[in-house]
């Protein structure tokens, strides 16, 4: 427990700092109230708006832990949203739409995993293929239109409320808990980290790296499918061009802020989720603080840069070095004074 707290402490502190910063500019930021039977307020909005990136970050964490990367998740969101919308549009019902969308996500993951694990294509190149092609596939599914629908059940996925919280918030929290339990209560987490640190040695120790790599890309595809369903439900339509656009980059950023190295190895899903919430707090905060919208991206970039600099091992080493040197000079300066004061 204390080990876990120590692991996520930097992310928690950063989140706290961001919340305080936003509150300074927009004092009402942290207030939460009830409107009927549901919670409302900016923090709730952050939990809801942050859902797509948080979901993507779960899969991305596992992929990055194997020393890979999945650039296709934004496009996979578009594909899965399009598949679900098309199914609903044809009157197949939500009972068919959801499994079809999740299946499409798994299939996309299988494709990425095949390229990476079997054909041994570098992950960044392998997933770039689907990143580019995916939106085209989604356009084919929606026949080039923004495919709108009026299925209330589907819309509930994106904008409904359950037990006071928005459904998207439930989705990522539950997905995070399930994923966390699966990787830590089985040996999946250990095997993923082992492959990420040293693929060759892991293979020689008997780890079936091919199956493992395909699995993590499929998990990533599944997470993207859920995110795609939420985004599509929220706007009641599948937009092949814009659903999940650039979100793969925010998901990678969330993992990086969460402290998982892009070189693979040790990972923490919880820290990545906090990272996703940090990003969303910044997004929401900038909007609420009333800066002209053209500043948003630059302010976000500056904040993210500061966060990553604070986490940089080189900078923290330098800071520690500075601190010890100062302490030493302080001690040196303090010693004579102590002698002088002794007679009193």
């Amino acid at each position: 427990m204390t080990a876990l707290l120590r692991r996520i402490a930097p992310q928690l502190l950063t989140l706290l700092a961001v919340l305080v910063l936003v509150t300074v500019f927009f004092p009402g930021f942290l207030s939460v109230g009830f409107s009927g039977d549901r919670l409302v307020g900016s923090p709730i909005d952050v939990l809801k708006r942050g859902a797509p990136v948080a979901l993507l970050a779960i899969g991305m964490t596992l992929v990055i832990a194997t020393r890979g990367i999945d650039l296709s998740v934004g496009a996979v969101m578009a594909i899965c949203g399009a598949v679900a919308a098309a199914a609903v549009d044809r009157g197949w019902g939500l009972g068919a739409a959801i499994p079809l969308a999740l299946g499409a996500g798994l299939l996309c993951g299988l494709w990425n995993g095949f390229l990476v694990a079997v054909l041994r294509i570098q992950p960044i190149v392998a997933t770039l293929i689907l990143m580019v092609a995916g939106r085209g596939i989604a356009q084919l599914v929606t026949a080039g239109q923004i495919l709108t629908f009026s299925d209330e059940g589907f819309a509930f996925l994106g904008s409904g409320t359950f037990l006071g919280l928005p459904v998207p918030a439930w989705a990522w929290i539950l997905a995070g808990i399930v994923a966390g339990l699966v990787v830590r209560r089985t040996a999946l987490g250990l095997l993923i980290e082992s492959v990420g640190v040293n693929l060759r040695a892991s293979r020689l120790a008997g780890v079936d790296s091919t199956v493992l790599l395909v699995t993590v890309y499929m998990i990533s595809g599944l997470c993207a499918a859920v995110a795609g369903l939420i985004v599509t439900g929220d706007i009641r339509g599948a937009d092949a061009n814009n659903a999940g656009l650039w979100l793969e980059l925010d998901a990678i950023l969330a993992v990086a802020i969460g402290g998982t190295s892009l070189l693979g190895g040790r990972f923490s899903i919880l820290a990545s989720l906090i990272g996703a919430m940090i990003i969303q707090s910044i997004n929401t905060g900038i909007l609420l603080a009333g800066f002209p919208p053209e500043f948003n991206l630059v302010i976000k970039a500056v904040l993210v840069l500061m966060i990553l600099m604070l986490q940089s091992p080189r900078l923290s080493d330098a800071a520690r070095g500075l601190a010890t040197r100062r302490r030493r000079t302080d001690e040196g300066a303090a010693a004579p004074r102590a002698v002088k004061e002794a007679p009193r």
């Binding site: 040293n198 892991s202 008997g206």
Partner: protein, 501 residues
């Protein structure tokens, strides 16, 4: 002496890579540097070329102390290096590669004509007729190698270090390269030649220096050295010490495994191997002779393209490591860092890894059990670590090796392959590893021990298989197992004849 090193000392965590090594290179000679893996050849070269900072000793160039802090500084001083894999840019032209960093300029812009002229001038005298305007990558490795040499000689001009330059060349290309090397020698350069191809070493070298375990063993005229003696020097057989066979030649148990015609084209010729319960099979041979390759096809690290492995019950699948492990095999590889340990993970996780991988991800070993397993092996194998949660990458080499042994002992395999189990570990750990080998065998496990240390093989083996030129060439049993016999088998019949030429 053109270049002289005195008492060079270089330490790495847990091991002394160079222990007071001396080395002298005269102008106008080709000086071969020999030794097995881990002998200290590459460390010595890296200290001479500034890639490593030495921890002690001095380096003299033309009698003046020098202290190169980078390969660039060494180059400025006159020491150039050409590596096995050419470190030039294949997608630039030959001329660009040759003049990179000092392109002739005209009115502040690089002059292509000047570049061409300079490149042709640099290549003059190397017997190369190539178009300097074509991409370097369009030419064979041998030509690239010579271009790299031309560049190094032009930039440095006194000392040329060739690190395994012939490893990827065919015979004709080697001859072409040697022609160039001889010409440079005649021009008065001092040339250091690192290779593990003994024929080539004898063909080109004037003098030979042998390193072993980070120590200088001998420097002699190549003409007065015969091949058997050279191998003795490299493999560390102390001449005065008559090592005898340590294990009683007991009749090991029944045959547990048999490999028939197992091989992989280009790596190891098909071989038969019969393994009996509780026996140690030693494997001797020089670097690159097919020792490790034998282990790799047996363990599925490189899938065999011919042959079968079977036990009493029937054929075994050893096409991947996971399947070989399921068949009861284990493999502690030669290169611990890249093939053995998972550096960032803890001692506990490293020990549990093979067992966990074998059980599958859905049946995790409870953490308490992993801890017990780790603590048990830490005690039994005397692994020096602050605790089971310490990242294994932070332990010394000997302790890393013990962690890998623990990983396999936890699996309780029937056949365990140990590739250089005592390389790069200190004397204490060395003895403990040998003791562990005895223990494992007493428990009925069969071992294949690959080692460059002949005394070690003689001491632990029931049989010794000798490998040369990627095939199994001899098998020694019982009283036949002596370091002398092994050296003779490695050196090949007629070795004395060749040396006498």
């Amino acid at each position: 002496m053109l270049l002289e090193a005195r008492g060079l000392l270089k330490r790495f965590p847990g091991t002394v890579a160079l222990d007071g090594v001396g080395f002298g290179l005269a102008a106008g000679e080709v000086h071969a540097l020999l030794g097995e893996n881990g002998a200290g050849k590459s460390t010595l070269i890296k200290c001479l070329t500034g890639a490593y900072r030495r921890d002690g000793g001095e380096i003299l160039l033309d009698g003046q102390p020098v202290d190169p802090r980078s390969t660039f500084e060494a180059q400025e001083l006159g020491i150039g290096t050409v590596y096995q894999e050419v470190n030039l840019l294949p997608n630039l032209t030959v001329a660009e590669n040759l003049t990179l960093g000092r392109q002739p300029r005209r009115l502040g812009l690089t002059s292509r004509r000047g570049m061409r002229a300079l490149a042709r001038e640099m290549l003059a005298g190397y017997g190369l007729d190539i178009d300097v305007e074509r991409d370097l990558g369009a030419y064979s490795v041998a030509v690239q190698q010579i271009v790299a040499i031309a560049r190094a000689v032009h930039l440095s001009g006194k000392v040329l270090i060739l690190d395994e330059p012939t490893a990827s060349l065919d015979a004709r290309e080697v001859a072409m390269l040697f022609e160039v090397v001889r010409r440079l020698r005649d021009r008065g350069l001092g040339i250091v030649f690192v290779s593990h191809f003994l024929d080539q070493v004898f063909a080109i070298s004037d003098r030979i220096t042998v390193l072993r375990n980070g120590r200088h063993i001998a420097t002699t005229e190549a003409a007065t050295l015969d091949r058997v003696r050279l191998i003795n020097l490299m493999l560390g057989r102390e001449l005065e010490q008559a090592t005898t066979h340590g294990r009683t030649a007991h009749d090991a148990g029944a045959e547990v495994l048999r490999a028939e015609g197992l091989g992989k084209r280009g790596r190891i010729a098909p071989f038969d191997l019969s393994v009996r319960a509780g026996e140690v099979i030693g494997m001797a041979g020089l670097l690159g002779s097919g020792r490790t390759e034998t282990a790799e096809v047996l363990f599925g690290a490189a899938a065999a393209d011919s042959g079968t492995v079977r036990d009493a019950k029937g054929p075994l699948d050893v096409s991947t490591p996971a399947r070989a492990i399921a068949s009861g095999f284990g493999f502690a590889p030669e290169d611990r860092k890249t093939d053995g340990i998972i550096g960032d993970l803890s001692v506990r996780e490293n020990i549990a890894l093979a067992l966990q991988a074998h059980r599958g991800w859905a049946r995790p070993i409870p953490r308490a059990e992993q801890r017990r397993l780790a603590e048990d092996f830490i005690r039994r194998l005397d692994i020096r670590t602050p605790g089971p949660e310490k990242p294994v990458g932070q332990l010394s080499g000997g302790n890393q090796q013990k962690v890998i042994l623990a990983r396999w002992l936890a699996m309780n395999p029937r056949f365990l392959i140990l590739d250089e189990p005592t390389r790069g570990i200190d004397v204490g750990a060395h003895a403990e590893v040998l003791r562990l080998i005895e223990e494992m065998v007493a428990g009925g496990m069969s071992l294949l021990v690959i080692s460059s240390e002949l005394e070690e093989l003689v001491a632990v083996s029931d049989r010794v298989i000798v490998v040369r030129d990627r095939s199994h060439v001899a098998e020694l049993t019982g009283q036949e197992i002596t370091t002398d016999a092994i050296v003779r088998a490695i050196a090949a019949p007629g070795a004395n004849l060749e040396a006498a030429e």
